[in-house]
């Protein structure tokens, strides 16, 4: 019995984990590679969620026969829309702030307020949710006492797929090579004929697009309201910082650790005390490893 509870518990943690990792991957790319702290990242996630909601709506009304696959379409749309939006943001004002990381935090926080109000004006303050796809309802009965909802399995698979995709993109393609070159030596890359402005915009847009996917995934486990992004932004930051900004693997592991710790503690303590315990734990760990868990010793 207690084993069953433990397994279910881990699976509860896993849905939080998928959101946190997708959010944190985007943040880690933007922060780790560009040094930009995007406080509006949560609102970009909400944007992805609202796009998913709209796509579901359109399918429901005009293409009801295709409702079974709307999700795939929605995920792609969520990515593309937030990607494009991220591009505009980078060109619009982020690029003026590269030398001023603290100011970037403030300006993007201002942006998050504007977006929240925009969502409220367009979609209302109420929560909206999408219809569950039929083939994802139901659960996989692993054993007698353990049931794992199919939609959870789906998002875990999706998260792993996206993470691998990001890894491939950054480390195995020419485009990823260019991004890493620019972040390591801007002047030299420019001299080598890389269009650094374009790379900056692409990188920021990619990070934003990942938030969009996180938003699409979020619609499968919760309802969206204008403040949804706020729920995850600080946690995602903590995941990034905890894992070490420059490490994708670190992000992945710390996302898992924090999500599991959170859900487990929530199970044992009250929700608020769990949160307090996590935050304090992370602060203590960071005190002893200020560069995160996965930082290498580098010559300054």
């Amino acid at each position: 019995m207690s084993f069953d509870i433990a397994v279910m518990q881990i699976f509860n943690g896993i849905s939080l984990f998928t959101i946190l990792v997708l959010m944190a991957l985007g943040l880690a790319i933007v922060f780790g590679l560009m040094g930009v702290i995007n406080m509006a990242h949560g609102e970009l996630m909400a944007l992805g969620a609202y796009v998913t909601y709209m796509v579901a709506h359109v399918f429901e009304r005009h293409l009801p026969s295709l409702m079974g696959v709307y999700l795939f379409f929605a995920i792609i749309m969520a990515f593309l829309v937030t990607f494009a939006f991220g591009w505009i943001l980078e060109r619009g004002f982020i690029r003026f702030l590269y030398k001023r990381p603290l100011d970037t935090m403030l300006a993007t926080w201002g942006l998050s307020l504007v977006l929240q109000q925009a969502y409220r004006s367009i979609f209302g303050a109420q929560e909206v949710s999408v219809p569950m796809t039929k083939w994802l309802t139901g659960a996989w009965d692993m054993t007698e006492g353990i049931q794992i909802p199919l939609n959870r399995l789906f998002i875990v698979g999706l998260t792993i797929l996206v993470s691998l995709g990001v890894y491939y993109l950054l480390f195995k393609t020419r485009w990823g090579l260019r991004i890493r070159a620019v972040t390591q030596n801007r002047a030299m890359s420019g001299a080598a004929g890389i269009n650094t402005n374009r790379v900056d915009a692409m990188t920021f847009a990619l990070g934003s697009g990942l938030a969009g996917i996180a938003g699409a995934v979020f619609t499968m486990i919760g309802s969206t309201n204008p403040l949804t992004g706020q729920l995850y932004i600080v946690d995602s930051f903590i995941v990034v910082v905890f894992g070490g900004v420059a490490s994708l693997l670190g992000t992945f592991v710390s996302g898992f650790a924090i999500a599991q710790a959170q859900t487990t503690l929530e199970f044992l303590l009250s929700g608020s005390m769990a949160k307090v315990a996590i935050l304090l734990m992370v602060i203590v760990v960071l005190y002893f490893r200020p560069n995160g868990l996965f930082a290498a010793r580098v010559r300054q």
């Binding site: 290498a296 010793r297 580098v298 010559r299 300054q300």
Partner: protein, 245 residues
């Protein structure tokens, strides 16, 4: 040896397995002006970084007047009497030349000391004297950020002079200077080396010949050769390293 001011023994540091400085021994006398030369990556700057506390060594001792510097933090090392000038001039761009020098004055370094600090005549005189030394007497009210590259180098040396250190570590003080500025700097070094020890990194052999008492050649984190400029230049190993033969 009674007049040794700095004794480095068995100093080692590695970054990710790469030994930038490897079991290095070095000793500097009182009032000596030592020049450290060596090809790029020989570990010259890393050596200075470890003496002044910027980098912590993995092994070895750095004895300065009976204190082991490896156990102190940067500000304690500075207070013990070691001054460091960096390769790229680092001065406070938003402050004036006068304020740059004043901040370096070695008293009232505590929070409350600095809160109730008043510029006395004595301090004012000292600032003016140092400014004179570093050829910036007419620039006292200028923001450091708009000084020329050479002037910034001088200002940073002046900031060290304010501290009156017994040991000065200078990393390429004439880099990026015009010929005339180089000559002035050589004069400056000759003047300020009286009564203190200086360890200086330099690439310009002309300049080294002009000022050095003794020269230490580093290569791959170790001392390759040591002696007067003439001795060093005749050393077969040095020639091999520099000319790749």
């Amino acid at each position: 040896m009674a007049d040794t001011i700095l004794a480095v023994t068995g100093l080692t540091v590695s970054f990710d397995g790469f030994k930038a400085v490897d079991d290095l021994n070095l000793s500097i006398d009182k009032d000596e002006l030592r020049v450290v030369i060596g090809p790029n990556g020989a570990g010259k700057t890393t050596l200075l970084d470890m003496i002044c506390g910027k980098t912590k060594p993995s092994a070895g001792r750095i004895e300065f007047k009976n204190a082991d510097l490896t156990k102190l933090s940067e500000y304690e090392i500075t207070r013990a009497g070691v001054g460091r000038k960096f390769q790229t001039p680092s001065v406070y761009d938003d402050l004036t030349v006068l304020e740059n020098l004043e901040i370096s004055y070695p008293k009232h370094r505590g929070v409350f000391g600095s809160l109730f600090f008043r510029r006395t005549r004595e301090i004012g005189d000292k600032i003016r004297a140092v400014a004179q030394d570093i050829y910036l007497q007419d620039e006292l009210e200028t923001k450091a950020g708009i000084l020329s590259h050479g002037q910034k180098q001088w200002l940073e040396i002046g900031m060290l002079l304010m501290q009156d250190p017994e040991l000065m570590l200078l990393d390429e003080p004439v880099a990026g200077m015009s010929a005339r500025e180089r000559d002035l700097t050589a004069d400056l070094l000759a003047r300020i080396s009286k009564g203190r020890s200086i360890v200086l990194i330099e690439h310009d052999m002309e300049f080294v010949r002009k000022i050095a008492h003794r020269v230490t050649v580093l290569h791959q984190g170790k001392v390759l050769s040591e002696g007067s400029m003439d001795q060093v230049q005749k050393d077969a190993r040095v020639i091999e390293v520099y000319l790749g033969m």
